[in-house]
């Protein structure tokens, strides 16, 4: 056991030496945990901000102007004005996400109780803004109508008042969510790519053959790759969490970063083992690259990081329980957003470790056969 650990340590140090001399990989790691976290977190907003809107005001009444004046920043850009005949052309040219068409005699019809219609045209290709914006416009228009009608004929206040409290992200800022999930995504992607590519590179160069004729076991060779890549990613992700997420993006972290690092280390075992396993299934770097991306995309999209797990079909929810990413996303959200401790998420952590062990054993079974098969 002592020799196994000593050799795994030495092989890991060799990995670190190699990584230290590989400027392209170093750049990739730095990029993945700086701009690749900051950029999407800051830029890819899920909430309604600066949406482009135009009004077709065929009524030119007090009420129609009130509605137009209620479209304010930061939700909407100052509204543009269109004639009714220009609507289709403007939307085809992608000039506006929303076009509100207020018909002639609108105010008069409202006051007469004839329930006139306002048409809201939405460019649904802007998916997240379209959904949120349509709901927001409905709320703005309803509120303006209510206020206008109350002035005309005051009515009793509503019987129920809804009080909404958003826990863990009070202002529903997508940056808060994106920043942390981006780190989780990049941890997964880098762990698969770095560990698998390390094995593929050694296979293609022939250096792995040299290791296999030494008094080393595949377990030692694999553990060397696992710990070295895990170490680099855990350290860099912790630095990124502090400097990029907390300092640069101003996202408050509710939980313990050391606890998150500990959980990341266990997750790393799982995902680097997966990377090595995928490398044993392929015979060249391009094959590995394609397979790794296809696996990563599915693990990422269905992990609960992008959309809630509960909204997926039940069968898919069950299938995704065998992905370590699903459990790690739950662990990350529990620690970093909710500030919970180990007691709240140990079942997920145990699942990550168990899945990792399965991947590790599967990779181990294929290791020597896969390596020599390439070269005979």
């Amino acid at each position: 056991m002592r020799r196994l650990l000593a050799n795994a340590y030495r092989l890991g140090v060799k990995e670190l030496f190699s990584l230290g001399h590989d400027r392209v990989l170093l750049f990739l790691i730095v990029y993945s945990f700086t701009y690749a976290v900051y950029g999407p977190a800051k830029g890819a907003r899920m909430e309604l901000i600066d949406a482009s809107v135009a009004v077709v005001d065929e009524d030119r009444s007090t009420l129609s102007r009130r509605i137009e004046d209620a479209l304010l920043r930061p939700y909407f850009l100052p509204p543009g004005h269109l004639a009714a005949a220009e609507v289709d052309t403007a939307m085809d040219a992608d000039r506006y996400t929303f076009v509100i068409d207020i018909p002639p005699r609108f105010q008069a019809d409202v006051l007469a109780g004839r329930a006139p219609a306002i048409q809201v045209n939405v460019d649904a290709t802007a998916m997240s803004q379209a959904g949120r914006g349509a709901g927001y416009l409905q709320s703005v228009i309803t509120q303006e109508l209510q206020t206008f009608l109350n002035r005309a004929a005051p009515s009793a206040p509503p019987a129920v008042r809804l009080v909404v409290q958003s826990k863990f992200n009070p202002n529903l800022m997508s940056t808060w969510f994106n920043a942390v999930m981006q780190i989780v995504n990049n941890i997964t992607m880098l762990a698969i790519i770095l560990s698998g590519a390390a094995l593929m590179r050694e296979r293609e160069h022939g250096t792995i053959e040299h290791l296999l004729v030494m008094p080393l076991t595949p377990v030692e060779i694999m553990l060397g790759k696992v710990w070295a890549n895990a170490f680099v990613i855990v350290v860099v992700s912790a630095i990124s969490l502090r400097l990029v997420v907390q300092d640069a993006l101003g996202v408050p972290i509710a939980g313990s970063i050391p606890l998150f690092m500990f959980c990341t280390l266990i997750y790393m075992f799982s995902v680097t083992a997966l990377g090595i396993f995928l490398a044993t299934l392929t015979r060249s770097m391009p094959q590995f690259g394609l397979l790794a991306f296809l696996v990563f995309i599915v693990m990422n999209q269905l992990s609960g990081a992008a959309t809630p797990l509960d909204s997926m079909p039940e069968l898919l929810q069950g299938v995704m329980q065998i992905s370590p990413t699903t459990h790690f996303v739950a662990v990350s959200q529990t620690i970093l957003y909710r500030g919970a401790g180990l007691e709240a998420m140990w079942p997920h952590l145990a699942a990550v470790a168990g899945i990792g062990l399965v991947f590790f054993l599967a990779a181990l079974l294929r290791f020597r056969k896969a390596v020599t098969a390439l070269q005979v």
């Binding site: 020799r3 000593a6 030495r10 060799k14 030496f17 250096t207 053959e209 040299h210 030494m214 020599t372």
Partner: protein
């Protein structure tokens, strides 16, 4: 050669033996050694006995099975039939022991180009469990012996092809193996670099008494270096003997090229695979 190796696993008798302790039995012995890949018989019932301290050449056409023989003897590939002993150990039952007693320089480049020459040697020495003082002594000696001491701190990716090969041989000799396997050690090297490698191989045997089994397509190399050669074709052994004897058997003017063509010419089937060609060219390209 200095005293026996330290035992990194705690048993004092482990590790390669010194020259004086080498057994009288052949350093490499195969009996009906066979390897099949599906219906293809890559190596067909090979019988060999290579005495300790010999430089032995394994020659043959592309796809003759030379590399497969080396991979079986170095425990990289399990035989599907027959048996073999290397340094006194069975390659199947005692694979771990065999690995302690052999060195291997693959046809492909095994030195890590992203490390310096010294770092490559240091990692190998550590993995063989050498103590700190042994590491220092043997790395210095290996660098001097292979004439690459001045380049020890340079990245291997900046070495010439000949220097890389010498580094790899140095790496494979750090633990003083009884048997050294060289798979086409001079492929891709220019004539000058090739001769430097030959000289070092001779010195290895002379200074350390190492048994060397090498494969080559270069008949001049086999003629210059080897005490005995075996010719293989289509996985079978077709001739065995000292180069001088094999040449003499064909006539006073015969060269080893003539011997090669005589024994393999008729059967020089187009058996080398795309992979063989790609590997050889990749190695040659990296050595340029």
């Amino acid at each position: 050669m200095s005293g026996s190796e330290p035992d990194a696993r705690g048993t004092p008798e482990r590790g390669p033996r010194t020259t004086s302790e080498q057994p009288r039995a052949p350093a490499i012995e195969t009996a009906g050694l066979t390897r099949r890949f599906g219906t293809l018989i890559a190596v067909d019932a090979l019988d060999l006995a290579i005495p300790a301290g010999a430089i032995f050449g394994l020659l043959g056409t592309n796809g003759a099975g030379k590399t497969t023989v080396i991979k079986m003897l170095t425990t990289l590939l399990a035989p599907t039939g027959g048996s073999a002993r290397v340094a006194g150990f069975d390659i199947t039952r005692d694979a771990a022991e065999v690995r302690w007693h052999i060195g291997y320089v693959s046809q492909m480049l095994s030195a890590d180009g992203e490390l310096t020459g010294y770092e490559n040697l240091l990692i190998s020495a550590k993995l063989y469990g050498l103590t700190r003082s042994e590491r220092r002594e043997r790395i210095d000696e290996a660098l001097r012996f292979m004439d690459i001491a001045a380049a020890a701190d340079r990245l291997v990716s900046r070495y010439s092809g000949g220097m890389i090969r010498r580094l790899e041989i140095a790496q494979s000799m750090l633990h003083r193996p009884q048997v050294l396997f060289l798979d086409e050690p001079t492929v891709g090297l220019d004539p000058l670099a090739r001769r430097v490698v030959w000289e070092r191989i001779r010195l290895l045997r002379q200074n350390y008494g190492t048994t060397i089994l090498m494969t080559t397509h270069d008949m001049e190399e086999a003629d210059q270096l080897c005490d005995a050669v075996a010719l293989m074709t289509l996985g079978r052994l077709v001739a065995l003997g000292a180069p001088a004897d094999l040449k003499l058997a064909l006539g006073p003017e015969a060269t080893l090229d003539d011997v090669f063509i005589h024994y393999t010419g008729g059967a020089a089937a187009e058996r080398g695979t795309f992979q063989d060609a790609a590997r050889a060219r990749r190695t040659a390209h990296r050595l340029e």
